[in-house]
């Protein structure tokens, strides 16, 4: 993906109000691949007894990251929306650690983009959660004909 396109996509993602509220940072954007991370924050805790972050916050990170992978795909999509997203939670994220999602848009048809993602904390061997989803494809006008 061109530097120019990556820059625009990065700005676009970092301007999303909900992603900003969660402190998300775009770490990498390539052709159909995105890496987005989020710092640990006590406001996002789901289990006050253990300090573990809520699954919903992990879902928000994965949804953003999957969407970012779709718009950075070479088929040049301007925007996308989630059709469905399934999250599997393997283990609680370790409190205090930054979590990073990596999403790959592995197949695109004229209308649908298929994406999978994995979220890790500082332990790079054991995933915290994985996701698979389908997203809408909205091509730039001139390409649709």
């Amino acid at each position: 993906m061109s530097d120019q396109k990556a820059k625009i996509a990065r700005q676009f993602i970092e301007m999303i109000p909900h992603s900003r509220a969660l402190g998300m940072r775009v770490d990498f954007l390539g052709d159909g691949v995105a890496e987005i991370s989020m710092p640990y924050d006590e406001a996002l805790v789901g289990d006050p007894q253990t300090g573990v972050i809520h699954g919903g916050a992990v879902s928000a990170l994965m949804d953003t990251c999957c969407g970012a992978a779709v718009i950075s795909h070479p088929a040049a999509m301007s925007a996308t929306a989630t059709i469905d997203l399934r999250i599997d939670y393997m283990r609680p994220a370790t409190p205090g650690q930054r979590i990073t999602a990596r999403a790959e848009c592995y197949h695109v048809t004229r209308t649908v983009a298929f994406v999978r993602a994995t979220t890790l904390d500082e332990d790079r061997e054991r995933p915290v959660a994985t996701a698979t989803g389908a997203f809408t494809v909205e091509r730039a006008r001139e390409e649709t004909k």
Partner: protein
Amino acid sequence: MTRPRPEPVQVVKQRRDAALSALVHGVPYIRFLGIEFDRRGDELTAIMPYDDKLIGNPMLPALHGGATAAFLEVTAIIGLGWSMLWEEMESGKLDPLAVDAQHLPRLPKTIDFTVDYLRSGLPRDAYARARVNRSGRRYASVHVEGWQDNRNRLFAQATGHFLMPPPRNG
């Protein structure tokens, strides 16, 4: 045969509302999203009041898919936790006065959660209700429906599987 006089309604309501409040308000992330629960008997309706920070597409504008997913997941977990708490409370196994921020019942843990996005989330309040389809000793399956202006026009629905917390006192 004489039945004991039923408790005054205010006492019952206060006890149930206090238990629900402890369950909901002890979780920082629920406060972060601004989600509240409306109770009618044992039925809960979750409300996520509109907030600029829930937006995912500023051009439309539309709610963030992640905020929607989180809202439905919170509704499912609280719905399931509440159904367990309700039984313990009604059977007298649990003293509801002992339920506070320090002595919260353990909440179920999400195993998986699948969200169907049916329409884009409008920039206004959202509502959701959870239905526990199966609640076993170890696993539970919960379905959630989310809507905005019209109860019959869902903007999202979800199904999740949950790991039940170990029973109280061992």
